[in-house]
């Protein structure tokens, strides 16, 4: 008996060894480990070195003493926490309501809402933040002119903590929308039906059944957005500085990146605390999504949940959705379009509207730099998103479907780079890839690697969500019929996972089209993508050209999204 058990264990071990999933996991582990750990180790080592990159240094704790010996750091971690928690909560509240109206009700116009909600994902955060300055600056803000002159109320002040939370929340809302809408689509409609049969009203059902069911996804979206907010440089640079509010990222910028000369080692030291904070949240996030997936696997039979009939309230729901969309899309986009049509940077008023010109669009047509950047970014978006989604599909398969040892580590590896602000990750990548004998530095390839490294978690999120809905029986049937892992993956899983694959692809492609904080450190004049070009137009004070290019990038990204939709013929949040 004892012998039999030992033999069985040996056989089990042997089975694990020959299982192709193990090889797949090993391959994915090596790729992910290299992508995620190489820059992280570089940052970690750099944070303990007294010399800059390329110079042999000695071990030191001086950067840690400077960063964490300053009581101000803890105060700023507190301020950053308030900022990130506030904007994340605001983004989730807006996105949750919008997703519910769009996915679960019969409010008119909801098909359009979904497409519009994707637009801000294609706008660089820098542009959204500058647009909101033109809308809510206490002296010149267009909305403030309305509030003061028409309503006789005191002006709202964007240069304040509530202002920062408001703007950052709007920037973060689209990603939360994608995650929550996806969860709403995949939930089991029979529970809602049971509630209604038992006599609950629509709103009661929404509160008692729908909300608890999507709560894990909502919390997951909140945590992702919290991490994004705490490491954001854009909104703090545009709004916090004039408001004289210091957050952790402005301190990192001031002491490390704007130091004289810049101190990358100190930036790496600060990045380590962000890594610690993020890892705690990623742990919580994993716990929550694990539970969410247990809920989600109840169903997944492929039928669409029935829309809730809101009766006359459906018009109110549409109005609420329109209001939310005005905030996250229509107002900032409108300001952007007007800015692109004005000869110089001005508040679009009746007076300045007489000056409208197309010269900034003329510049875009003439400039070879713009044409090249558009070509480079499109390449990065299409190739990068495709490669990233294949990698995400493999990781999602291994973590959801198999019992391969170390599958949890794979997911954690994916999430590590998300912990760093784009700039800090760029320093780690720079330190890492500039040393490699392979000619990657100063080419488009380092950008591709950087994008995949940094944004893989978004792709993984979309893939995991879909993977749990696909029933294992189909796959098992294929295996029983003698198909190997590769064949099963290609013939059975890939077609079933296609909607999730393309949803993730669309998110990544739109982010890659306009990424700038990581690119800025890594591009050269020959490989300049759109993000840095937009930033440099801003740096040169060319607001009109920047806005015009922003509008064009948005349109190009919408074309990509539309293509992805056509490829799947289902809503992208599916």
């Amino acid at each position: 008996m004892a012998f039999g058990a030992a033999q069985a264990r040996r056989i089990a071990a042997w089975t694990v060894q020959v299982d192709p999933a193990v090889f797949l996991a090993l391959a994915a582990g090596v790729i992910l480990g290299f992508l995620a750990l190489y820059p992280t180790v570089m940052l970690f080592v750099g944070s303990f070195s007294d010399a800059p990159l390329g110079v042999a240094g000695r071990f030191t704790l001086a950067h840690y003493a400077r960063a964490y010996g300053d009581p101000h750091t803890y105060l700023l971690i507190g301020t950053s926490f308030v900022f990130a928690a506030g904007s994340s909560a605001f983004s989730v509240a807006l996105a949750g309501l919008l997703a519910w109206i769009t996915v679960r009700t019969n409010a008119p116009g909801r098909g359009l809402f979904e497409l519009v909600a994707l637009v801000p994902n294609v706008l660089p955060p820098l542009l959204i933040a500058t647009s909101w300055v033109l809308l809510l600056s206490p002296r010149i803000g267009l909305l403030n002119l309305l509030i003061v002159q028409r309503l006789g109320l005191p002006p709202l002040n964007v240069y304040s903590m509530p202002g920062m939370i408001f703007v950052e929340g709007l920037i973060l809302a689209p990603l939360a929308f994608l995650i929550i809408a996806s969860a709403l689509r995949s939930m089991d409609p029979s529970l809602e039906e049971s509630a209604r049969i038992a006599g609950s009203s629509s709103l009661q059902t929404a509160r008692r059944i729908t909300t608890p069911l999507v709560l894990p996804a909502t919390l997951a979206a909140g945590i992702l957005n919290f991490v994004r907010a705490i490491e954001s440089f854009d909104t703090p640079a545009i709004i916090a500085l004039p408001a004289r509010i210091d957050v952790l990222t402005t301190k990192i910028f001031r002491e490390a990146l704007a130091d004289y000369p810049p101190n990358h080692n100190l930036a790496a030291t600060y990045a380590m605390s962000l890594l610690a904070i993020t890892m705690i949240f990623v742990y919580v996030y994993r716990r929550l999504t694990d539970r969410k997936e247990r809920f989600a696997t109840i169903t997944g039979r492929g039928y669409r949940p029935q829309a809730i009939d809101l009766g006359a309230w459906r018009y109110a729901a549409s109005a609420a959705a329109l209001l939310i969309l005005s905030l996250i899309v229509l107002l900032p986009l409108g300001v952007l379009v007007l800015t692109s049509l004005l000869p110089y940077y001005a508040v679009p008023t009746r007076e300045t509207l007489g000056l409208l010109t197309l010269k900034h669009y003329g510049f875009l047509l003439e400039s070879t730099r713009v044409a090249r950047a558009l070509q480079i970014s499109l390449t990065l978006a299409v190739v990068g998103a495709t490669l990233a989604m294949f990698l995400a599909a493999v990781v999602a398969y291994l973590t959801v479907r198999t019992r391969v040892p170390g599958r949890g580590a794979l997911e954690v590896l994916t999430f590590i780079p998300l912990a760093f602000p784009g700039t800090a990750l760029a320093i780690g990548l720079l330190w890492g890839y500039v040393r490699l004998p392979v000619p990657i530095y100063a080419t488009i390839w380092i950008l591709l690697i950087a994008y995949i490294t940094r944004f893989l978690p978004f792709g993984l999120r979309a893939m995991t969500g879909t993977m749990v809905q696909v029933q294992a029986e189909l796959e098992e049937a294929s295996r029983v019929c003698g198909a190997g892992l590769a064949r099963t993956f290609r013939r059975i899983l890939l077609p079933l996972l296609w909607p999730g694959f393309m949803a993730g692809w669309a998110i990544l492609a739109t982010i890659f089209m306009r990424e700038f904080s990581t690119s800025l450190f890594l591009y050269t004049p020959r490989s300049e993508p759109l993000g840095p070009l937009l930033y440099h137009l801003w740096l040169d004070g060319q607001q009109g050209r920047m806005a015009a290019l922003g509008v064009v990038v948005s349109l190009a990204s919408l074309v990509l999204v539309a293509l992805a939709r056509r490829a799947t013929k289902v809503p992208l949040t599916g």
Partner: protein, 339 residues
């Protein structure tokens, strides 16, 4: 000297002179040929792209050698040049930016010696003793700019202390000196203009102003009308004024300016194209083109198309080394960080 020479000596001198001119011309032809073979030149700098393109067009038109320009804020130019050099992967041939960062890069041994033919036309005081940096071929002048729609000429401040008037409280914008190097250097240099009042002025100014990242956001906020007054570069009066932006500037006396330099990378991949580029940039042709684009260049009698530019008494700022800048930031930075 010629008076003491006999006719034979004069003839000899003339022959030598002709030979020298001839060999200079030959050297120039060789340089152009070598640059063309290299095919391109990579320039890292903080000059505004539109201004840079003026030189780029002349250079590419004249020599057919492509120019690739990487533009960033001066601090970031220094950062990238140092990082690439330390890692042994310099991608640049030529660097051009403000004096303070150029001196730090020079100290790091990143630049090669080079003397362009034009350098001898610049005043001796602007020459680099080590023959590495160019003379300060242009300067950037810092003053108070105002939005002419919001501030009438007679109401505009006339001097820096006028900014402390209670009516301008919260209506002046400037870059945050704790993160913008040129602004810190400017504030520190005010000491030689203001003398004993300097410390009190900086402290009170900190209470009057709104802060932004750098000089461009500063002028943008003036143009758009968020702030009627802003501390920034005078050249923006022309650069943005030509698009119709309502800008004018305060004729400070004296007005402080920071020198700019250009230099050749020691490990340039295209050294000849780099030299040729520096030659053109610092030549009379290059400088006149820069002046037309709004730059203050070091050519006697040549000014940018900005009203009263010829009447300004421009004083060059002293550069601050790393330690001086740190001391200044520690001493005065806290006024600006106060909430």
């Amino acid at each position: 000297m010629l008076a003491r020479c006999g006719p034979r000596t004069v003839l000899g001198c003339l022959l030598i002179a002709v030979a020298l001119v001839g060999s200079a011309a030959q050297a120039q032809t060789d340089l152009v040929g070598a640059a063309k073979k290299e095919g391109r030149v990579v320039v890292y700098g903080s000059m505004e792209t539109d201004v840079f393109e003026v030189i780029q067009k002349i250079f590419e038109g004249k020599y057919g050698v492509r120019v690739e320009y990487w533009r960033a804020a001066s601090n970031r130019v220094m950062d990238r040049v140092l990082t690439e050099s330390r890692a042994g992967r310099p991608q640049f041939d030529v660097v051009l930016t403000n004096r303070s960062p150029m001196l730090i890069i020079k100290q790091a041994g990143v630049f090669a010696r080079y003397t362009a033919p034009s350098y001898e036309t610049f005043p001796a005081a602007t020459h680099d003793r080590d023959g590495i940096l160019s003379p300060s071929y242009r300067v950037v002048v810092v003053s108070i700019l105002h939005n002419t729609r919001l501030v009438k000429p007679e109401d505009a401040p006339k001097s820096l202390p006028d900014l402390l008037d209670p009516r301008w409280k919260g209506k002046v914008v400037m870059p945050d000196p704790t993160q913008h190097t040129t602004t810190a250097v400017w504030l520190a240099n005010l000491q030689k203009v203001m003398g004993a009042q300097h410390g009190a002025f900086v402290e009170r100014l900190a209470g009057q102003v709104g802060l932004v990242e750098s000089f461009i956001p500063s002028v943008q906020k003036v143009i758009v009308g968020e702030f009627p007054l802003g501390i920034t570069y005078v050249k923006y009066v022309h650069i943005f004024g030509q698009d119709g932006a309502p800008l004018d500037y305060v004729r400070l006396n004296p007005v402080l300016a920071e020198a700019h330099h250009v230099a050749l990378g020691a490990k340039a991949e295209h050294p000849n194209a780099g030299r040729l580029f520096i030659d053109l940039l610092t030549s009379r042709l290059g400088l006149l083109a820069l002046a037309r684009a709004g730059e203050f260049v070091l050519v006697p009698g040549v000014y940018p198309p900005i009203k009263d530019a010829d009447k300004l008494r421009v004083v060059l700022m002293d550069d601050l080394d790393e330690n001086e800048l740190k001391k200044f930031r520690d001493e005065f930075g806290r006024f600006f960080l106060k909430r």
